[in-house]
């Protein structure tokens, strides 16, 4: 991104999506259709600069003054940030469309060298042609060991579900701990994984009509999908553990010898305190205060008349500090 003090209303954004094959970069030109889509993202805000900056496929000139205000600004900025994804997805679509699934002779030639696609940094995946299909291979890497285990169980389910009869129209999915032989010669750091390699076989059926958009979207976002599933699984495990812990603590508290006495014993209402939630020190202090208040009040009135209890208790003979959980009620004095 470039901006100038002299020209502060404009910002230049340059981007490129390099596809690599056997270490050689392939600078795929952007199609005219992609240019049209980019221009229509934010009319008046985006201008395409010809020629692009050196080393980049596309340079855009953004008119900051023309960006709408309020919620529309966020939408526009989000769309601008998706331009790189848009270019890559269009390139992948064209690549899939151009591959001729019926011509096996192309697969036998040297045209089936794997193409390395990088949608997210440090998460490349490979696409290469085979007879009657295109294979997309995802090397899977995770930082945490527990993520690896959850991901492996997910891949196992993915392969099992993919092999079912109901899913015969979906791409064939397979998992392998070692890279396929077609990836021989690729960089070692890309082929070093801790969760194996997931492969999808894309056939001509998956690139026809509207399915092409979905296929490309699913391939580009496979990594994000898996990571989101792992994150949700971990959150679910955490919730279950917390719930089970609460139930175990309640069971343990039931083993106590002294149980909490009810505040009113006339049967009109019952008061049950949850020791688990209220801190022990605070609940003890509150209970002592209430006991002391009640004893003082009772001792002042020797003659007890049933029904007049509320009149007695409304009179305050001795002031005692109140312990309230409300943060607004802060009427306490520090005792030296």
């Amino acid at each position: 991104m470039q901006c100038s003090v002299l020209d502060s209303n404009f910002v230049y954004v340059s981007t490129s999506t390099l596809l690599e094959t056997q270490g050689t970069e392939m600078l795929k030109d952007i199609s005219s259709h992609t240019y049209e889509v980019i221009k229509n993202i934010a009319v008046g805000v985006i201008d395409i600069v010809h020629p692009p900056r050196l080393g980049f496929q596309l340079t855009l000139k953004l008119h900051l003054d023309n960006i709408p205000r309020g919620k529309e600004a966020i939408k526009t900025i989000n769309k601008i940030s998706e331009i790189q994804a848009l270019i890559l997805s269009n390139q992948l679509k064209e690549m899939l469309k151009r591959f001729n699934f019926q011509d096996d002779s192309q697969a036998m030639n040297n045209n089936n060298r794997p193409i390395r696609i990088v949608y997210h940094p440090s998460e490349p995946f490979y696409v290469f042609r085979q007879p009657e299909k295109i294979t997309a291979v995802f090397p899977m890497n995770f930082k945490d060991n527990s993520d690896v285990v959850i991901a492996m169980s997910f891949f196992q389910e993915l392969v099992e579900v993919g092999s079912q009869k109901e899913m015969e129209k979906a791409p064939q999915c397979s998992w392998s701990p070692v890279p396929p032989f077609q990836l021989r010669g690729e960089p070692v750091q890309d082929l070093t994984t801790n969760a194996g390699f997931v492969s999808f076989d894309i056939t001509s059926r998956h690139v026809q009509g509207k399915r092409l958009d979905k296929t490309v979207w699913n391939l580009l976002n496979f990594y994000a999908y898996v990571k989101y599933h792992i994150k949700c699984s971990r959150g679910y495990i955490q919730r279950r553990m917390r719930k089970r812990m609460d139930s175990l603590v309640k069971q343990l508290n039931n083993t106590r010898l002294v149980e909490e006495a009810p505040q009113k014993e006339d049967g009109r209402c019952k008061y049950v305190k949850e020791l688990v939630k209220v801190p022990k020190g605070k609940s003890m202090m509150q209970q002592r205060c209430k006991d002391m208040t009640r004893r003082v009040r009772i001792s002042k009135f020797r003659i007890k008349i049933n029904g007049c209890a509320r009149f007695r208790f409304n009179q305050r003979w001795i002031y005692l500090p109140r312990f309230s959980s409300k943060s607004s009620n802060k009427s306490y004095t520090k005792m030296d």
Partner: protein, 169 residues
């Protein structure tokens, strides 16, 4: 409850009933100190013989008793990698919140997954029989919870995989 599990738990329960006879005993070495002798192990005359109860090679329970404290260490079954990480996560979660449990040890004994430390003070505050029942129930609940978690994780994975592949169709 399966028969082998019931026998295993009954054996542990009977051993705990015999071992949980704790009384207050001040430290013999330091004045005005009261320490759980099963942790220090400095005075052999205050320690009872430890009892190891094994259900199989993977599951066992070690009960170490002394005059004023009792330590129970459990090793939980872990059949595969997923159960392994679920057990580790769950028991570590509980151990880190040991203050809520009071009788739970913050760090398990080496070679075991989770440990309890019961002192004579706990026996004074809590009913002995209910405490033993709690430990037995704890063991059952842990096993049940880990099985349920494993099934849930696999079920979630299956549903997510189905939804992902449906998008291609």
């Amino acid at each position: 409850m399966a028969n082998p599990l019931r026998l295993y738990l009954a054996c542990i329960k009977n051993t705990l009933e015999a071992a949980m006879c704790l009384q207050n005993f001040p430290c013999q070495e330091v004045e005005r100190h009261n320490k759980p002798e099963v942790e220090l192990k400095t005075s052999p005359e205050l320690l009872l013989n430890p009892v190891l109860i094994c259900r199989n090679e993977a599951e066992k329970c070690l009960i170490e008793s002394s005059i004023n404290s009792l330590r129970i260490s459990l090793k939980v079954k872990q059949a595969d990698e997923l159960e392994n990480i679920l057990t580790k996560k769950f028991l570590r979660f509980l151990s880190m919140r040991a203050e809520a449990f009071q009788v739970l040890r913050r760090k398990p004994v080496q070679g075991y997954d989770i440990s309890f430390l019961i002192t004579n003070y706990h026996c004074e505050e809590m009913q002995k029989q209910k405490l033993i029942d709690f430990i037995i129930q704890f063991m059952e609940d842990i096993e049940k919870e880990i099985s349920e978690l494993k099934i849930s994780v696999n079920t979630r994975g299956r549903l997510v995989a189905t939804e992902f592949l449906k998008q291609f169709m």
